[in-house]
Symmetry: C2
Subunit: 551 residues, 2 copies
């Protein structure tokens, strides 16, 4: 019996293309409902534009327009245009028409995109929901504009070019036009919110947004300098899996194993490489090709155990405290602003750093919880707030020390906005939807340290403000008696009444100023203690991600 059954079953086996996979699983990529889908399309386009500009060292001008299609419910044309470097003609079809294709996946350096799925998935979503091809215009400063209409062959995951044309066009940049099913909303988790939050943490970018009613919103540049350019780094030995090491050895150029280690890993010198080989009982001069699996495993073990320097951090491109403050000032007009940009740390071999901006009062006057804006590699994260390491760190911080009220397990309450930026060569997203950062203890710790520094400054400001208010009240009280007392003194001493009043006012002013300063210095804002139990680098996923406890 079973022979036939097995043979019958064999006939049904076949390969599935990644495009087919995501056609059926589009919710995994952020296309869960019409509101989020429209946002995801815009986000993928804007992320790509900003990445391209930054990589080409061009101050970004990004234009986003949404047009509501007449007579068709829930149908929009999305236009995203940038002044980036453009894309060379032969690469246009694959970049927009093939999933898992791109420049960012194979290198270790900070960028918004990292998977090679985003923009082609937006094209796939458009064709799936409207049957329409994407239209792409690209200029690379050679006086030509290449225009493609294309979609994806879902069975093969290859681009299908519907039309192509080249016309005259000066300058450089890329324009994408997509027709998609979606729903446009205002308020929370809206495209406007996404663009405004992008403008805050990318103050070197100018963004113009035209909404479906034709209303135009301009987000001007706040600073005229790009963040520093990130460099590509080699992987760090501490985060490497044995299988990945074996794969790297197979494709290695250096002939000897010690040469390979020194060439392909961060922080392994020639000397250190030889030392590791000796510890693993492997001849440093042996060829990578003739190493046995067991030898490789011994070497891998030594690489995990070795005390190596943390990887270099110039693969990161922080925004910087000053630009973050400028971004907050220009978009929110607060009465107080401060920002902290921490130095780099490492999770499972990946360098990362945390930046926090805090803005208080002024135009920020909402009631209830503070407005928390989360970012990964400069991209705002609008969904899955409670699942994110950033939110956990904010909630775990004791905000009452910094003069804000807070219930247990909740965000603090007050007229305040917090921006928290996680920058890394590889963001450990909890899903392809790229909405939440996995809660590695070292990440939580770094976020908390950054928050505390910024919050402490804000606490000092709030204390001072409170003292100043109190002093003002006292001053007003004293002034009320100045005229009367001056009159009495004039009668008593015969001196000029006006003069006495002026001197008394000056005296009050002077006295109260000293009082404020003294009181603030007397009562500094308490610094929260950070749990020192958390190791500075946590090695591998082993102790890495918070374990789920079920319920």
């Amino acid at each position: 019996m079973a022979v036939n059954v097995a043979e019958e079953m064999a006939k049904t086996h076949k390969a599935i293309s990644i495009a087919e996979f995501f056609e059926k699983n589009k919710h995994l990529l952020g296309y869960e409902n019409l509101q989020k889908s429209l946002l995801t399309v815009v986000r993928e386009g804007v992320d790509n534009s900003l990445d391209a500009c930054e990589e080409a060292r061009i101050l970004p001008d990004v234009y986003v327009e949404l047009q509501k299609k007449a007579n068709i419910e829930n149908r929009y044309k999305v236009i995203i245009e940038d002044n980036g470097p453009g894309i060379v003609k032969k690469n246009i079809p694959k970049i927009f028409g093939k999933l898992l294709y791109g420049s960012k996946f194979h290198r270790l350096r900070q960028s918004r995109g990292q998977q090679g799925i985003g923009i082609s998935a937006a094209v796939l979503y458009g064709q799936l929901t409207t049957g329409k091809s994407a239209k792409i215009y690209s200029r690379i400063n050679d006086d030509k504009t290449h225009i493609y209409e294309l979609h994806i062959d879902i069975q093969t995951n290859e681009p299908v070019i519907v039309s192509e044309d080249t016309v005259y066009g000066s300058g450089h940049g890329t324009r994408l036009e997509l027709e998609v099913k979606g729903r446009y909303v205002k308020g929370r988790q809206s495209i406007y919110e996404y663009i405004q939050e992008t403008a805050i943490m990318n103050p070197f970018a100018k963004i113009v947004f035209v909404d479906p009613d034709g209303e135009k919103f301009e987000f001007p540049r706040g600073v005229d300098e790009l963040p520093k350019e990130p460099r590509e780094i080699k992987p760090h030995a501490s985060g490497i899996e044995l299988g990945t090491l074996l794969k790297m050895m197979k494709g290695a150029k250096p002939k000897t194993i010690s040469g390979f280690l020194a060439a392909e890993f961060s922080r392994i010198s020639g000397e250190k490489a030889k030392e590791l080989c000796v510890l693993a009982n492997v001849d440093p001069k042996v060829s990578t090709m003739s190493l046995t699996r067991d030898e490789a495993e011994a070497l891998h073990e030594q690489m995990q155990k070795a005390k190596l320097q943390n990887p270099p951090t110039d693969c990161l491109s922080p925004i910087g405290a000053k630009p973050i403050e400028e971004g907050l000032k220009k978009e929110l007009v607060p009465e107080f602003v401060t920002a902290v940009s921490r130095s780099a740390a490492v999770y499972t071999g990946n360098p990362f750093l945390v930046e926090v901006g805090v803005a208080y009062g002024g135009n920020i006057d909402q009631e209830g919880p503070v407005h928390l804006m989360r970012y990964a590699n400069k991209v705002p994260l609008l969904y899955e707030q409670s699942a994110c390491a950033i939110t956990k760190a904010v909630i775990q911080t004791d905000w009452r020390r910094y003069k804000l009220s807070q219930s247990a397990g909740a965000l603090p309450v007050g007229p305040m906005a917090i921006t928290i930026h996680f920058a890394s060569v590889w963001v450990p997203y909890t899903s392809e939807g790229k909405e939440a950062i996995a809660a590695y203890p070292i990440i939580i710790k770094e976020v908390k340290l950054a928050i505390q520094e910024a919050a402490r400054r804000m606490g000092v400001y709030l204390s001072r403000k409170r003292r100043a208010n109190e002093a003002e009240e006292k001053k007003a009280l004293f002034y009320r008696y100045v005229a009367e007392t001056a009159g009495a003194l004039h009668d008593l001493t015969g001196k000029d009444k006006e003069k006495i009043a002026t001197q008394m006012s000056e005296l009050i002013n002077e006295k109260l100023k000293t009082m404020i300063v003294e009181e603030v210095e007397e009562e500094p804002v308490e610094q929260e203690e950070i749990d020192n139990e958390i190791p500075d680098e946590d090695n591998g996923e082993e102790n890495g991600v918070e374990k789920e406890s079920g319920e």
Copy 2:
């Protein structure tokens, strides 16, 4: 400038294989930490074995063994063997050595696997963490055993065969041996828990599990009949995206558009197909190839609007109320058990049904919340409980009506186990990790209805039990006076004292029995009202998944 930049950037663009993608993103497939990873490997193997047996109509015998590797921390050999049909020789390499390959993705019928990723991802995880190839033995009843050692070429996502051999072997079945990094735990979210829960809801399977200490656990068969075989169905018009329709038309065999519609969709007759064409202003006789995009869109709109019968439900393979009860009895030995198997409903064009089993008391004596066991297509879901539609439905049920205590927003409390089975041709998992079901309102509603029917029966049982207890107490009270009263009556009437006592006892028994029945009938368990606002079929994702509100 930009020409050069664009050309420099172009050099770095390249394709990413799906194996590379998941090498870097293994947490997306359930390989998040060592404990969960070991479970995921076992789960993928057991799911595959059970699917193969059921498809070949063989009562499954599944053997699972974990061996701890000596001298290497966190290293296990996982062995999974079944008596299934085996796999024909030429398909073995791709089934285990290529991601996105299989028989289940392209057809609409209930099975455990659906993506074509699971078992090859387990092989990938093993090679990644240990550098070892997988070993597969397969027999298809032709007196041969084919043995392969293989792993995946990560750059190409193709199998690499390390060794192959054919030896004599009678019978049929498949055996997989994998070496992986993992951590073995007992208790919640353990492999033991996974296997026991599998045994409960797959009572037609015999499972043997040998743990790393060599202890052997046998889960015998509870019923000797397989669930009914599911049939493959055509897609339903109500859930189809325009882009998918266009793709299907391109590859269609029937020449005319009306013939295509009738042949390729559920519940569209030849007559109905013509009617839809006329409504869309399309000639029913026109060829699928010559239809314009706008015509296709008009047709798509009519297909969405049409009042069509729900799809046939013989694509589903429910377990059935009786086998669920047997499964609960054999594994948990409760004092009361009941199960409900509902008829099918439809979400976004996909048929599904819900089955609920409830077991109370007996060997179930835990304190605190009830033990909730969630299943999708007969597979236990051990993680992400709170994100799951099933959990939401349980929490939204008012259990106090059924004599259990419950706090707002929490599971009920009591010595009870609930198994809830969601069966569908396509399970809307919230991630590839396959741990939680998306909360479509129609799914929540169906789960609640099934729970209520089972819970009502349990409520009646608990009421009756309470009455019986009360009656026993009364009876005991009466008995205390029987001897005394009988003595007095004997003195009064001269009749036999023993006889009087017996008659009185019988009378008390009789009277109390009636009392219990009457009281139960007088006070029936209240039935909870179900919100009738939810439409019976919710059309498309549009109103489908609960929207996230952020915080």
